[in-house]
Symmetry: C2
Subunit: 209 residues, 2 copies
Amino acid sequence: MNNDTIKIMVIDDQAVVRQGFVALINTVSDMAVVAEGTNGWQAIDLYRLHRPDVTLMDLRMPELGGVEAITAIRKEFPDARLIVLTTYDGDEDIYRSLQAGAQGYLLKDMFFEELEEAIRKVHGGSRRIPTQVAERLAERMGSSDLTGRETEVLEQIVAGHSNKTIAARLNISEATVKSHINSILSKLGVSDRTQAATTALQRGLVHLR
Amino acid sequence: MNNDTIKIMVIDDQAVVRQGFVALINTVSDMAVVAEGTNGWQAIDLYRLHRPDVTLMDLRMPELGGVEAITAIRKEFPDARLIVLTTYDGDEDIYRSLQAGAQGYLLKDMFFEELEEAIRKVHGGSRRIPTQVAERLAERMGSSDLTGRETEVLEQIVAGHSNKTIAARLNISEATVKSHINSILSKLGVSDRTQAATTALQRGLVHLR
DNA sequence: CCAACCCTCTCCCAAAAGGGAGAGGGAGTA
DNA sequence: TACTCCCTCTCCCTTTTGGGAGAGGGTTGG
């Protein structure tokens, strides 16, 4: 491995998928996988240890998710180059990833050739957001954010709790819960809690477990 | 490629993941990928054309899903050997896949070595269901099936429709809808429609989109 | 300091959902 | 045939949810 070789770290909890990525990357003469991990904590540890030039990161992982790992790595290493490589999980995930400091966001239904190009782009210091992804991101703009409390209430709704239970769990009155739900419904543009739950899941505002 | 080579078909809509599988399989001396596809229709066409010894099939795909493709292929070729290779999507998916005629069900978070072993097992005529998966399947047993109509109503619930709207869409009275929902709630062991929606999604009884 | 949020709450009302008991008709099976 | 499901429906009742108007206290930022 000479000095021009791009050192790559691959973080994905699906072993056989990760092994596939590694195999593909290692077929490229000037790229080499120097570290592999299955969750966010490993990503942080392995980054410190190997200082890869580019990191490929999945989002949904046990223990510590991709967004949190990206945030932590960028905090310690502001120059870190990170590409999110994931199944499309909704506009919110894209937004949060870029917010956290990722330079690229690729979908797993793209071809390896695009991934290879993205790695070179990001390694060279530019960003790489495919049109398809950029469009999703644009959709999100304009759609208003939920406040912190509203997000908590939304999570409780998705967890299947009644207003009364939510009130008890959050230590507020049921009236306040209803007030938050009112805001949530209008911000999400839906008319009942079940729709709120399914659209929140689709948009990636919350995830099942 | 000599006569002992195991001919494999890979069906997965995520291009880079599929390419990874192909790369891994082709590193094994007595295995060769003879066809690749991105959905159920292609799976059926390519099966007719190439008659692979073993097919690796993802479940969630556009156009035609994995379960339907397995059913169609097994109908035309009762000897077809099929392994489902997917992200875990709930016990219902496992059940339906095996019901449709798959001989194996592997999760993408397993290592390639296990996949290789599974391919050999299934090619040799046996089945291969990892303990982890078998346990999930066992969980499903005992939990009663939903009837056809109940499943339709459940889909409408997940789609976010009110009882009134569901009644209109299914051309039955609202009372009947409520009656079905009663059965659904008790069969799923939940107490309201939002819980029904989220547990149905978790168990893979229905999918978003 | 004032405006803009956010979070909290009250009171009231209407609509929707959930729960229980019962019943008729149709299809399939023992 | 008799039995068992499934699908359909009615009637009645309670609980939950959603919608509207308003208001006080807190923080933040211009």
